[in-house]
């Protein structure tokens, strides 16, 4: 269970949110919505432990994430608005190096299946990533979800530049993750097409 307790966050002079309390249970998804600049990404970065909260704390299974440190990092998969892929490497190399860095090494075949799972066909696996479109690069980044065994997924605008087919595929993958008892926090502009009983919406006013 992920829990935010009395979070305060301001960037520079601007106060983004104060006294934010929210709880995400296993098997459910928190959809963070709000206008541009309302602090959605900041909230996600606080959840990921990249950004320390100004006040308040984030608890994972009842323990402060800044005390858990690496133990907490081992529980999550974070995909930010930057894709984290290298233009000079192929999608396959990008995926495999990202996973070995994260401590979830996978086989060549496993990585290929993940890329195919998100709709990147085999010939694309061996092209330099700089030749891919924005949507294809996003898919390379999201392919990690097919191999992730971590219970907590933190996704920043995962559907940006994805077409409708890929959006559906990613949504299905999210559903599978939640049904296996995982939890997810997703920052998004779009509606997440998941059953309403497992989606909790949090609107940030900014």
């Amino acid at each position: 269970m992920l829990q935010a307790v009395a979070l305060h966050c301001s960037r520079g002079e601007r106060r983004l949110f104060t006294d934010l309390n929210v709880k995400v249970e296993r098997g459910s998804l928190l959809a963070v919505v709000g206008e541009n600049g309302s602090g959605k990404t900041s909230l996600l970065r606080i959840f990921s432990s990249l950004l320390p909260p100004e006040q308040g704390s984030v608890l994972w299974e009842g323990q402060d994430i800044h005390q858990l440190k690496e133990l907490y990092s081992g529980q999550l998969t974070y995909i930010g608005h930057l894709n984290g892929i290298k233009d000079d490497l192929t999608p396959l190399e990008n995926l495999m190096s990202a996973l070995s860095l994260a401590g979830e090494p996978c086989s060549n075949n496993g990585a290929k299946e993940a890329l195919e799972g998100i709709g990147l066909k085999r010939p694309i696996h061996h092209l330099p990533s700089k030749m891919l479109s924005q949507g294809q690069k996003r898919r390379v980044a999201l392919a990690r979800l097919w191999l992730s065994t971590r219970p907590l997924w933190l996704l920043d605008e995962p559907f940006t530049s994805l077409d409708t087919v890929a959006t559906d595929v990613v949504t299905q993958r999210l559903l599978m993750h939640l049904q296996r008892g995982g939890l997810a926090v997703v920052v998004t502009h779009q509606e997440v097409a998941l059953p309403t009983e497992i989606v909790q919406r949090l609107r940030l006013m900014g």
Binding site: L50, G74, G80, N83, G84, L101, G103
Partner: protein, 227 residues
């Protein structure tokens, strides 16, 4: 957190960075060519007087190596910062300082080690004797990793800052002074027949100290850069 998964992550970083360097060979070659050109300018400018060249040789070679290291520093973290790989690195369930060691080691292999290999050839231009060339190689072998380690702190501190190239030079060059003094001193004293062992030991001490301290400082600076 087992030992094998730490090794997996660190070796993964080294392999990826070396692969990237292979894909962009021109980047890595740049600092080496810079070194060759700068060092070759001195005999042209000062004149071919062997005694003069032999006196300035160690200093020139070391200053040029130091500047070549400085030139390559911006490549350590900037690309990773811009494409989001750095975020993923910070969120790896391993101590960030160890990953930093991996990154610096890869960076040194690409831009520091070629300098070491090339130095005897450049030393010949200054009429250094065989023994002095050996000491020069040893001093650079101990000194350039130290320069990369210290440089990584500076490179991490200026991430996301405008005009960071000049700023990193101002931050890092003063810290390079001891390494320069011991490095050039080792070669000079071996030429004077005293033997460079004392200075080489000091360089070794600098390396150990920077290996021990710089990764933690760099890791802290990286976390701040990402906030």
């Amino acid at each position: 957190m087992s030992g094998s998964s730490i090794w997996e992550a660190v070796s993964g970083i080294i392999r990826r960075d070396l692969l990237l360097a292979m894909r962009r060979r021109s980047d890595a070659a740049m600092s080496v060519f810079f070194l060759v050109i700068v060092v070759s300018l001195f005999p042209l400018g000062v004149g071919p007087e062997p005694a003069v060249l032999r006196t300035i040789g160690p200093g020139v070679l070391w200053v040029a190596a130091l500047l070549a290291c400085l030139l390559s520093l911006s490549r350590v973290f900037t690309a990773d910062y811009l494409d989001g790989v750095l975020e993923q690195m910070v969120l790896v369930p391993q101590p960030l300082a160890l990953l930093v060691v991996g990154k610096v080691l890869a960076h040194w292999t690409i831009s520091g080690f070629p300098i070491v290999l090339l130095s005897p050839l450049l030393g010949l231009q200054f009429g250094l004797s065989g023994e002095s060339l050996g000491v020069l190689v040893m001093s650079l072998l101990l000194g350039t990793p130290t320069l990369s380690m210290i440089g990584a702190i500076g490179a991490a501190l200026v991430l996301g800052v405008r005009g960071s190239g000049l700023l990193v030079a101002l931050l890092v060059l003063p810290l390079y002074v001891p390494v320069l003094i011991f490095g050039a001193g080792a070669v000079t004293s071996s030429m004077a027949g005293i033997g460079g062992e004392a200075n080489l030991s000091l360089l070794g001490a600098c390396l150990v100290l920077s290996l021990f301290l710089a990764p933690w400082a760099t890791a802290a600076a990286l976390r701040i850069a990402l906030e």
